[in-house]
């Protein structure tokens, strides 16, 4: 007798366990299955700071949250409906994210004395009544797994390692997800280890069947396809992966080899990892000795005619400042990607933050403007990488692309774009002299103030460029005072001119004028969007603007802002965009800041908006 199935609009589940418990894989496979069902969704992994913190401790807990729905889903969810806790530490670290009345699925073996001690808990919360306001289901998953695999020939250790598949199977059952995609992926993953594969599959099914057969569960749930999603072919994508794909696409659109100079750093390394897999796309990845060498090698590659990029995070970007100045002076294309993390200094390397905007704008000596753009979510990264590359190449300018740890590691369904619809990127190559009497003028500008890109190897166009101030047009070293002023203004004008080649700012939602506009950038997008949507559904009339272009701003931004009485600028920092807006437009923009290494949640966003509205 099949158990009844209840339909839900949206659900948030948090899988939490020890680093070794495989919660990331569990979450990912649950995500895949949900995506294939056509749910809209958003996920967020919450890694521990240590590689392998001592087992069983709070520091060693690894979490993965998925928010999926048949409605629009913009964030991984503030609060979860279900918490899977593989041990005491996982419960301790994550209980605060669970709604009252929420479901806890606990591996009771993970609450033995040793685990309680490691989690620094005096009493067993599964026993002492402290979880009374939740719906707790205890299962000795370890025991089940060992029993199920008794005759598999695997050691206890190996058996224990597969127990996450039991959890996955159980949750798949509970939310009516088919197992096919998980099975397929496990088969691929363990192709070379048939016993492990069999053990995993066995536990996956065991979990599924467990839901069906035990009395513990009386209802199942289902979440249907999201009708709000655009039609087309989808796949899941993580932020850093999408950036990597975007750069490969950009190099193809520009007809240039791709060159990445990088040095590993959390949370940017995955771009290097991803790109290094795709050599067949004429991708050159270079793990340099440090961040300075990484960007310098990229500058060399750019001089040679490649689409050159460099990827890092805050501390590494700080090291690149001098070289970014050189690229600015050389007027060569380069994209500098900063996957922001908690700062200052080493800060909170595994946490997210948006505190490198002012560094992106001003973190160099001298008047050194670069273009700054940002991405708002994982499925936005592909396009932003292409856009950054386009601007760099077509405007001969360094472009700083800002993402953050939240976007980098988050995953979302991505409507796979039709590459043939993308505009080609046109490098400003010069192969013939552009001056009088067959002279080359490497710094002669076109009407966008852009100089030509003259590649070494081009016969007859031999020339020298460098970091000293250059004479207008000839590019020769010049100490002439007026020329210096002219060139400083020219480099600024060239960046400003990019505003003519980017879309005007659109209002995401809400009225075109009114009491309040909320202006965000980067990864706060989903949260702000959800908060405003919910409030406007309640009858408020709040506008949302979300910036992609931070330098230059879209030409109409100032105009738009002046149409609202109040401007609220939420940021995961201590107030940075708000400074630029106040300076530029002299509007009394109000900062709203959270600096906890965590994204905003919808509840606090709504609360702040209401506070600003005086409600």
């Amino acid at each position: 007798m099949a158990k009844p199935v209840v339909l839900k609009d949206e659900v948030t589940i948090r899988f939490a366990g020890d680093s070794g418990d495989g919660m990331q894989l569990t979450g990912t496979e649950f995500t895949n299955a949900s995506a294939l069902l056509g749910n809209d969704l958003s996920t967020f992994p919450d890694y521990p700071a240590e590689i392998r913190a001592p087992q069983g401790t709070v520091a060693g807990v690894s979490g993965f949250q998925i928010h999926f729905g048949s409605t629009e889903v913009d964030t991984p969810g503030d609060i979860c409906n279900v918490l899977v806790a593989m041990n005491a530490a996982a419960l301790k670290a994550n209980l605060r994210y669970l709604e009252v009345g929420g479901l806890i699925i606990a591996n009771s073996d993970g609450f033995d004395e040793k685990n309680l001690r490691l989690a620094k808990m005096d009493k067993n919360p599964l026993e002492d009544g402290s979880l009374d306001k939740y719906n707790v289901i205890k299962i000795d998953i370890t025991k089940i797994a060992r029993n199920a695999l008794q005759d598999s020939g695997l050691s206890t250790k190996e058996a224990d390692r597969s127990k996450n598949m039991f959890v996955l199977g159980l949750l798949m059952w509970l939310y009516s997800r088919p197992l096919e995609s998980a099975i397929r992926n496990l088969e691929a993953k363990f192709a070379k280890k048939p016993e492990i594969l069999q053990a995993n599959l066995r536990l996956l099914r065991a979990g599924y069947d467990y839901g069906e057969t035990t009395e513990l569960f009386t209802t199942r749930y289902d979440v249907k396809q999201a009708p709000t999603m655009e039609k087309g072919k989808y796949r899941n994508i993580m932020g850093n992966q999408a950036l990597a794909y975007g750069f490969i696409a950009a190099s193809e659109l520009a007809g240039l080899p791709l060159y990445l100079g990088s040095y590993p750093i959390t949370p940017a390394s995955d771009i290097l990892h991803e790109l290094s897999k795709h050599k067949a796309y004429n991708v050159h990845t270079f793990q340099a000795e440090d961040e300075i060498a990484a960007i310098c090698a990229a500058i060399g590659a750019s001089f040679g005619g490649a689409l050159a990029i460099t990827t890092s995070s805050g501390p590494g970007i700080a090291l690149k400042g001098e070289a970014i100045g050189l690229a600015t002076m050389l007027e060569l294309p380069i994209v500098i990607v900063n996957i922001q993390r908690g700062g200052p200094s080493t800060g909170l390397p595994t946490k997210t933050e948006q505190a490198d905007l002012l560094q992106a704008m001003y973190g160099r000596n001298g008047e050194c403007p670069v273009v700054v753009i940002c991405t708002r979510q994982p499925n936005d990264c592909f396009d932003v990488a292409i856009e950054a590359s386009r601007i760099a190449i077509e405007h001969m300018v360094p472009v700083m692309l800002l993402s953050d740890g939240y976007i980098a590691n988050g995953a979302e369904p991505w409507l796979i774009p039709d590459i043939t619809k993308y505009k080609k990127i046109n490098p400003n190559f010069l192969t013939e002299p552009n001056g009088q009497n067959g002279k080359l003028l490497p710094y002669k500008r076109d009407d966008r103030f852009v100089r030509p890109w003259v590649l070494p190897g081009t016969k007859g166009l031999e020339h020298r460029i460098g970091g000293l101030e250059k004479q207008h047009e000839t590019g020769n070293v010049s100490y002439d005072p007026e020329n210096h002023e002219f060139m400083v203004k020219m480099r600024q004008a060239k960046v400003d001119k990019v505003a003519d080649y980017i879309p005007l700012q659109e209002i995401e939602q809400g009225p075109e004028s009114g009491e309040l506009v909320v202006v965000g950038w980067g990864s706060t997008f989903g949260c702000i969007r959800t908060a405003i949507r919910e409030l406007n559904n309640q009858g408020y009339s709040i506008a949302q603007i979300h910036l992609r272009y931070l330098n230059p701003f879209p030409k109409n931004l100032g105009e738009i802002l002046k149409k609202y009485q109040k401007v609220l600028v939420p940021e995961i920092n201590n107030g940075q965009l708000v400074k630029i807006i106040r300076d530029k437009f002299l509007v009394d923009a109000i900062p709203f800041n959270k600096i906890q290494g965590l994204p905003f949640n919808v509840v606090e966003m709504k609360a702040k908006i209401l506070e600003v509205l005086g409600k």
Partner: protein, 343 residues
Amino acid sequence: MSETITLNHTTTLTAKDFASDQEVRWCPGCGDYSILKQVQTVLPELGIPREKFAFVSGIGCSSRFPYYMETYGLHSIHGRATAIASGLKMTRPDLSVWVISGDGDALSIGANHTLQLIRRNLDVQLLVFNNQIYGLTKGQYSPTSEEGKITKSTPVGSIDHPFNPCALVLGADATFVARSLDRDPKHLQMVLKRAALHRGTSFVEIYQNCNIFNDGAFFIFTEKETKFQKGIYVEHGKPMLFDNGKKGVKLDGTKPVVVDMADTSVNDLWIHDEKDVIKANILTRMFDDPKDTDLPRPFGVFYVTERPCYEDVMKQQIQDAIDQKGKGDIVKLINSGDTWVIA
């Protein structure tokens, strides 16, 4: 000078073709002028079209070099020329890439990139103009200045033990190590040609006189009176003779000793073997203050070996990937993994 040189005279370029229209702005008398001239003399003999040369430099007097060359050039930032050249060479292995650097640029702020380039062995010529001083910043001691050096920043003498550049790069497994001097044009030309022909990073230390801030630092090796007593010009397969054949060096175990040829047979001398890394090491360590030693300072090509060039393997890996998987197709890539359709 060395029989391994085979030059390819396919162009009819001359030294003049390699001089740019920029006024040369080193101090009158600076050793850089001679080095510039020897490079301009050697390049036409390499049979490489002019547009295929790229000179990359950092910051320093020496680093102004590219401006004076009618080739592609990049005058970059202090210490980073080797890193920039690496990226250039990786994507453009068709170019002949030369790095021009100073003792400060290459061995102080840029030492890390220098050594990493050397272990990676990109096919780049790395010329370090060693004047044992910071020229452009008007005379502070450098990492090659002798201990106790009195300069603007060390009025009672520097404390640092100097680098021995050739020994340092050998420690980083350099595949080509040589030393020459601004004031010996023929020798410098020979060394530059050898460097150009070597596949891999060619490290060439060039003693260069800074007549403004460190005049005469190498006169003992460059001026007639002492040059042949204090220096020894080594050639592969030749015995280590100096002082016009009056003296020689032989190896006592691993220890080099000076012998009087009046009572020594040439057969007992150390025969220079540029393929022997340990002997190269002994050579580079003949580095004591010339006033304190009778061991001469060696010049010439100390060590040459073959090792794959980074850019070749990089290219090969890309080619292998294409051969195995076919040329990348972005449509396939973004459509890979699990997909689903919403209709």
